[in-house]
């Protein structure tokens, strides 16, 4: 039986937004934590560490996010863990986000002038203190706009969790479409909801970029 698209269907879509948001927050926070280490590894003095971080970034940036999700999802069964699509999506998106944030933040760390590193180390600061008190506070300022901008990519990326069967906004859209058979309407609404989530972040990122860029030029 074909149902009409009504208030209930719309509410179903809206309630699926919480899963999209939850997945985005997990990927962003988890990816941020791992990404910080990737960025530090990428800028480390020890060559093998740099290579390792670089390889990590290259692999995640050189393969499709969808494949990464598939590999986590099916790879878990290989090592004997029965993983739900929800956990697989969270792990896959976290790893992917960490590689991209790591590369973005590497640029930010390296944008801190060399003299700052030299001054800090000549004052006797070791690596942890040098990073914690001198380099990272300056790098964070540069990092905020692109990081907010990347949050948009994370939110959009969560839509791929639909393909491995996790019910977030896009999958909810497919389900509603299968029941109502009004694809144009349903997916337009889904797109509009994503737009409502992402556009403010895009605008914020642009505004932050303009604000931080102005005084230094």
């Amino acid at each position: 039986m074909i149902r009409a698209f009504g208030y209930n269907e719309f509410l179903f879509l809206l309630s699926a937004v919480q899963w999209t948001l939850m997945l985005s927050v997990i990927a962003f926070v988890g990816g941020g934590i791992v990404g910080l280490f990737v960025a530090l590894g990428r800028t480390a003095d020890v060559k093998p560490v740099r290579w390792l971080a670089n390889g990590y970034i290259q692999i995640f940036q050189g393969t499709p996010l969808l494949m990464q999700l598939f590999l986590v999802f099916f790879g878990a069964t290989v090592i004997g863990i029965d993983m739900s699509p929800w956990v697989a999506a969270a792990v896959g998106l976290t790893l992917n986000t960490s590689a991209f944030l790591g590369e973005i933040w590497r640029g930010c760390i390296q944008s801190v002038p060399r003299g700052q590193w030299e001054a800090a180390s000549s004052l006797g600061l070791r690596y942890p203190g040098l990073m914690r008190y001198v380099i990272l506070p300056q790098a964070v300022k540069v990092a905020v706009p692109p990081t907010v901008g990347y949050l948009v990519q994370v939110i959009k990326g969560t839509s791929l969790a639909a393909i491995i069967g996790f019910v977030e906004l896009t999958r909810a859209g497919q389900i509603v479409n299968n029941a109502t058979f009004q694809p144009f309407l349903v997916f337009s609404i889904v797109a509009a909801i994503y737009f409502a989530l992402c556009w403010p972040l895009s605008l914020l990122s642009q505004r932050l970029e303009a604000r931080y860029a102005a005084p230094s030029r």
Binding site: G62, P64, F74, G80, V152, T170, P183, F187
Partner: protein, 224 residues
């Protein structure tokens, strides 16, 4: 670890995988070429078109950049038939990729065009070049050179994101992998091999783009 890896199933369908990879490559290059043309026109419209045109192009860019590619594909493949436009999965995939990359590339090329100093354009006009010639030789080519790295990494991202079109069963690499997976149930083996193929494709694309840069923009190499 007790899992028994069986790659035979994957390599038994090697030809099929290569067919899929070939379609991925063709889709990507098709979308790049058409998307680049779309982007140049839109970037020109955005930098020097009348206000309504600029507004329209802006809306296009913002809508595409702030919605997921997967939803765009669903809208084109499932949505368009409801207004009477029926597309095969491959064509729908190509259109979705063009529409998507067009928006990103427009922003990139616009940035390039805006980096051209006004004096350059005035100098071009003063030398007697027609406006279209000024755009072609004085604005577009240096602009493309400036944004070339950003543009080509966008193209590689496009190739990678083409795996998403498997959701509408276009016969590209990921779809082929899904088909083999559903026949053999060797999921992990298939997907690790296909991930490897994507990585190789990405490396090949970036080598190719580096080669094209040397051929197309060689005159600038010693100036930097």
């Amino acid at each position: 670890m007790t899992y028994d890896f069986q790659f035979d199933a994957v390599f038994a369908s090697w030809d099929y995988l290569l067919d899929g990879a070939w379609l991925t490559v063709r889709l990507s290059f098709g979308a790049m070429a058409i998307g680049l043309a779309v982007a140049i026109v839109c970037a020109l419209g955005k930098t020097s078109g009348p206000k309504p045109v600029r507004w329209l192009i802006n809306a296009y860019i913002e809508v595409i950049r702030n919605t997921p590619f997967l939803v765009q594909i669903f809208l084109i493949f499932f949505g368009l038939p409801s207004i009477g436009l029926r597309l095969s999965p491959d064509v729908a995939a190509l259109i979705a990729m063009v529409v998507n990359v067009g928006a990103y590339a427009t922003e990139i090329i616009r940035a390039g065009i805006e980096s051209i100093h006004k004096g350059q354009i005035e100098a071009g006009l003063a030398l007697g070049l027609r406006p279209l010639q000024v755009f072609r030789y004085v604005v577009l080519k240096p602009a493309l050179r400036t944004v070339y790295p950003a543009l080509t990494s966008q193209f590689i991202l496009l190739m990678l994101s083409s795996s998403v079109v498997s959701a509408i069963s276009a016969d590209e690499l990921t779809s082929v992998a899904n088909n083999i997976q559903s026949q053999t149930f060797r999921s992990f083996e298939i997907y690790i091999v296909v991930t490897g193929i994507y990585l190789v494709l990405a490396l090949m694309f970036s080598a190719l783009f580096a080669g094209i840069y040397r051929l197309a923009f060689a005159y600038t190499v010693d100036r930097r």
